[in-house]
Symmetry: C2
Subunit: 245 residues, 2 copies
DNA sequence: CCCCTTATATCCAACTCGCGTCTTAGCTAT
DNA sequence: ATAGCTAAGACGCGAGTTGGATATAAGGGG
């Protein structure tokens, strides 16, 4: 019911704080595979709040900067990572998610190949890897556990555990009907490598012939005729990802 | 490559404008069905920019207000609508999406039953309906056309046409594996009504026995034993939506 | 009581998917 | 050179799913 209100009522309701703006940031889930397991790149917070805890790399959105550009900048500045698959995940805006002040963050998912992941890790001491253990099957959703290299459970800062959980959920959901899976693989790859990626993300073994058929029928795979080298058994054919038609 | 930079370089790069905050709003795609066609509720802008054009209802996010709460408030204040299915869609943050100032908006999708849609429309003169014509098949995505009651094409303000297009894409994608379809139906409904909703959203006719089977196997439908009334032919059984197990 | 319309139930063919098995091909050890 | 190992790639079968046609049921209206 929309109706005019009296000036008195307007003033009684008026609170200057209502017109203060939340701060706006982007946070990145830098996801890759490490030894066949999903892993994220984290920064260890030096200062309060949540000092000592691990957090997702992020940064404020500039006043003249598009959200996607801000995410790309954080990817460059904080990770020195090559331009990778970058997609907006969700926007988190609970009032007390940051105790310092009201901060709304737009979460992005960035996918790195295993090579890029280890290279970024080696080159950037500020970043540490966190293995992501997903306790739920399929696309049930729910919390995930992030483990340090030593195997201890990491309690992430702010609501970042929730963000990582959503990233895993989204990735599982999109994996077999979209092209995201290829963002985790190098330019040339075998069907086995592709299947390994899918199994790592889905957390479940897949049937080999069925997986082959499905992937080949999708029309995403371009056979190169070349074979992998360095195997002590029959080498597999190398494929290239053919961008969506 | 992270490395220390000189103070001079820092100062050269420093721009106070970088620390200004974008304004943050929520915009709602209030979607319902009108005569078997998807339709959205729009406000006609009285002022510049985009004066005279139709826009999505929206509002600023209060400094002490969670995003979901802001969306719920806009739903109440601008539409007087009953609490409906409300889900975050995407955050739009292009730099020049609003010529007045930098505004980042979190778009929400709200689903109304046909009864709620017409009731809100009748009760709130500020809102006008816009038929949504989706020219692409399946989940291809792309622009949509919004038509006035008279059948003219409406050019929506800002990037709101893009937001509506994304809402339709999201809805089509989720329709048959999630429970969103029921948000467009009253408490009791027949299988034919459910199929009509799916066909309206998907924009394509569906096979009746296959649809029946799939829906009944999902376990979402609770038979009531009651029959619809007022038909001049065989009445269909009324079902109720049983919330997700 | 018959007819009209739409709901609901059956049935069948095409397709997909999981899964076991067979063949192929490179390397390695003898 | 050759047999044997391993994993790639191909084949085939049975179960389950889906599209689509058809038959039966049930209410109102003549």
């Amino acid at each position: 019911m929309i109706q005019a209100e009296s000036e008195a009522a307007f003033l009684a309701r008026y609170d200057p704080a209502d017109y203060a703006r939340p701060a706006l940031t982007v946070d990145l889930v830098l996801l890759g595979l490490q030894g066949g397991q999903p892993a994220v790149l984290l920064v260890k917070r030096a200062e309060h709040p949540h000092a000592g805890r691990h957090a997702l790399p992020g940064g404020f959105v500039g006043i003249g900067e598009a959200l996607d550009d801000a995410a790309g900048r954080v990817l460059r500045e904080k990770a020195g990572a090559p331009p990778a698959h970058l997609e907006q995940l969700y926007t988190f805006g609970a009032v007390n998610r940051d105790p310092r002040m009201r901060i709304v963050t737009v979460a992005y998912l960035a996918l790195l190949t295993e090579a890029a992941f280890t290279e970024v890790l080696a080159r950037t001491p500020a970043l540490q890897p966190g293995r992501v253990a997903v306790p739920w099957a399929g696309e049930a959703g729910g919390p995930v556990t992030v483990l340090s290299a030593g195997g201890e459970v990491l309690t992430l800062a702010f609501d970042h555990a929730e963000i990582v959980a959503l990233a895993m959920l989204r990735l599982r959901g999109k994996l077999d009907y979209s092209e995201v899976g290829f963002a985790l693989l190098p330019d040339l790859f075998t069907l086995r490598q592709l299947q390994d990626v899918h199994e790592a993300i889905l957390g479940t073994p897949l049937n080999k012939p069925a997986f082959r058929r499905r992937m080949l029928d999708r029309g995403w795979l371009e056979p190169t005729g070349r074979l992998e080298t360095g195997t002590s058994y029959r080498p597999a054919e190398l494929f290239r990802f053919r961008k969506g038609d």
